[in-house]
Point group: none
Chain length 401, copies 2
């Protein structure tokens, strides 16, 4: 029996509330003075909480595997990321609040620059055009019609847009059209499974019409499609855990991920402070709160050690506000590490903190990578976090007699 | 290859002896002064043994999952509890010392109250009648005969009884008859697989006769059947490990569980002291000894912290007696935690101690939950204990060339 089945079978209701605070890219690596971002940060509230908690380290997927945002969060939500995969097109669409159904096929689009004569790509990102420019171009593409499908196309950010087809019989198993380097023409969509032939034809027809419309554009006279996929059809948090769950996030991608597992998406504003306000306002309405902090990851990706430290300190400042709500279970971790030293996601384990009744407190009184190495939770996988949170919230019954 | 197959393939014989000391419900949670039951207990012998051993923490199933006694022990015996399930009817029968064979079909019965006119259930537990009343009613049902099967029916406790059919061609895959709420009539048994049709017919015939007999009872004028199951047909300890194994236990349920994996059940009396005597007397006859201590769990279930401490101290007092036999491998742990603070089984990891030659002693010289967090075995699963014990007893050969 896999974990999802086990959770479906064992979950029961209780009036306890769980907060999962995900600090994106939390894990780091030591700077020249030997401290990671989290260790360098002045976080009196999280350190105090660590003393009242049990801590450890969590591996997003398996050792050595660096996850994207999708797999990182699927693990945290208790869905095995090696079994369940989410296409980037779906993530991109959900990320800007578009709705995806079982009849949808979604792709991520990139505007690109083509050599007018050879049609070879000269810039895969169309000179990183602005989001406004992207919206203008997308408006030109909206009138494209193809019989048998409804088409939605929306600007995302910079040179990126989302394309969604809605109709019966659309299938995934389709190749991408970005040749991955300049000097080559965009590819056509190929059906990798014979069931996807109709979908490939429709997408190629759409591309042909789009290229005709964009022909005279100076920068974005072409586009490519990537990550063409359907809704992965994940069982919802309500089905798996019996939870009334919500997501408090500032970035579209994370709202989209939460939506895929059936969480209600709350308007959380743009700041860590506004996320706390949203948590407070909605406290009575849900029993599971996914709170997502984005800017730690952005700072890590930029290689900005001190900015990441500052964001962690800002997160620390809302801990008293969270604790004032008296959550029954509070989990703090990240979806993956983003060490400033690497300027990218990494495979390193995440510091993990579990605060609840009925824990066995360990002897660790500090929240940091090396402190967590001595924690009572030891080394876990992201996948194990939800069952532990459920157990500590009295939401799981006994397995077997 | 699963673990059972691996053990079948790799086991070899040696003259070394293994003792698996299972202290039921051993794991606990801190009392007001911050110590668990095991930490509060005065256990000089186990602490001394810990100094000469390697310790760690073991998860019965997976993190967050609270096991019943069946899955807890299956894990300790090296059978994956998520693959092998023991029906409640079988456990209930084993729990009162009834014998189950490959020809048995066992059900748990509940007496219930029916509305005399509509036959709808008005109380699913017949007003929680006493065990004595249950025995009186069961005696009325004993004369029921059905051709082709031998029938055993015995009172268990309160409103619960065990029903066992013995005969050729009985199959499991049968629905339960408890509609799970009042206001509905008991269901009939349905065959969920066509092979189980004959068994469904027999059980429905038995129910019809039982209802006729119980008709005039004021409270228990009906009954329902649940957890209808056969012996799970587990491969035996002899097949899997090549071990000549025995069980030293005072409670029927644990003797029954041991019997399911082919252990010889010894008469161990009623006390921890008599269990030690049985171990000593049978020392030359077996190479694997499953020794089960029940009363830690009972005290935990009753929420009696100090009684659980006392039972642990009593177990400590027999350690020198066990060590005087010079066991080659001694494992001490529990099937699951039963913190007095929770008055129930829980998901918490179990302290685990492995004493043997060829161990890497760690620096822990204390047997307790938090001490074990620093142990050299780290965090394990119950499933991993038997292979480790086998290895340290020189009973496993190399895997692969």
């Amino acid at each position: 029996m896999n974990q999802i089945e086990l959770m479906k079978q064992l979950h029961i209701s209780s009036d306890k509330k769980i907060v999962l605070l995900v600090i994106d890219g939390l894990g780091g690596l030591p700077d020249t003075d030997g401290k990671t971002e989290l260790e360098a940060a002045n976080i009196p509230n999280m350190d105090k909480l660590a003393a009242d908690s049990i801590v450890g380290l969590s591996t997003p997927i398996t050792p050595g595997i660096t996850p994207g945002s999708g797999p990182g969060h699927l693990g945290l939500f208790g869905y095995d990321p090696l079994e369940h995969q989410i296409g980037r097109g779906v993530l991109e669409a959900l990320g800007i609040g578009l709705s995806i159904t079982q009849d949808s096929l979604a792709a991520r689009g990139n505007f690109c620059t083509l050599d007018p004569k050879t049609k070879a790509i000269t810039d895969r990102r169309a000179g990183r055009i602005s989001t406004e420019e992207c919206a203008r171009l997308v408006n030109k593409l909206k009138p494209i019609k193809i019989s048998g499908v409804d088409i939605t196309v929306e600007a995302v950010k910079d040179y990126r847009f989302a394309l969604i087809l809605n109709g019966k019989g659309l299938e995934q198993g389709l190749s991408e059209t970005d040749p991955q380097k300049t000097g080559l023409q965009p590819l056509s969509v190929q059906a990798l499974r014979k069931e996807a032939k109709k979908s490939a034809d429709i997408l190629n027809e759409w591309l042909e019409k789009a290229f005709a419309i964009l022909m005279d554009e100076p920068k974005a006279n072409g586009c490519t499609l990537r990550g063409i996929a359907k809704d992965p059809g994940l069982p919802t948090f309500s089905e798996v855990y019996g939870l009334k769950s919500c997501a408090i996030a500032t970035y579209p991608m994370y709202k989209g991920l939460a939506k895929l597992v059936g969480m209600e998406i709350l308007d959380a504003g743009d700041t860590i402070a506004s996320e706390l306000e949203t948590l407070k306002k909605s406290w009575k309405d849900f029993d599971f709160f996914f709170v997502h902090i984005k800017k730690t990851d952005s700072a890590g990706e930029d290689g900005d050690f001190m900015r990441k430290v500052k964001v962690i300190e800002e997160v620390d400042s809302i801990i008293p506000g969270i604790m004032s709500l008296k959550p029954d279970v509070l989990v703090i971790t990240g979806d993956h590490s983003t060490p400033a030293a690497m300027k990218s996601h990494s495979w390193h384990e995440l510091p993990l903190l579990l605060y609840a009744d009925n824990i066995r407190k360990d002897r660790v009184a500090e929240f940091g990578e090396r402190a967590c190495m001595s924690g009572g939770l030891g080394h876990m996988r992201h996948l194990d976090i939800m069952p532990l949170a459920m157990a500590h919230a009295d939401k799981l019954t006994k397995y077997g007699a």
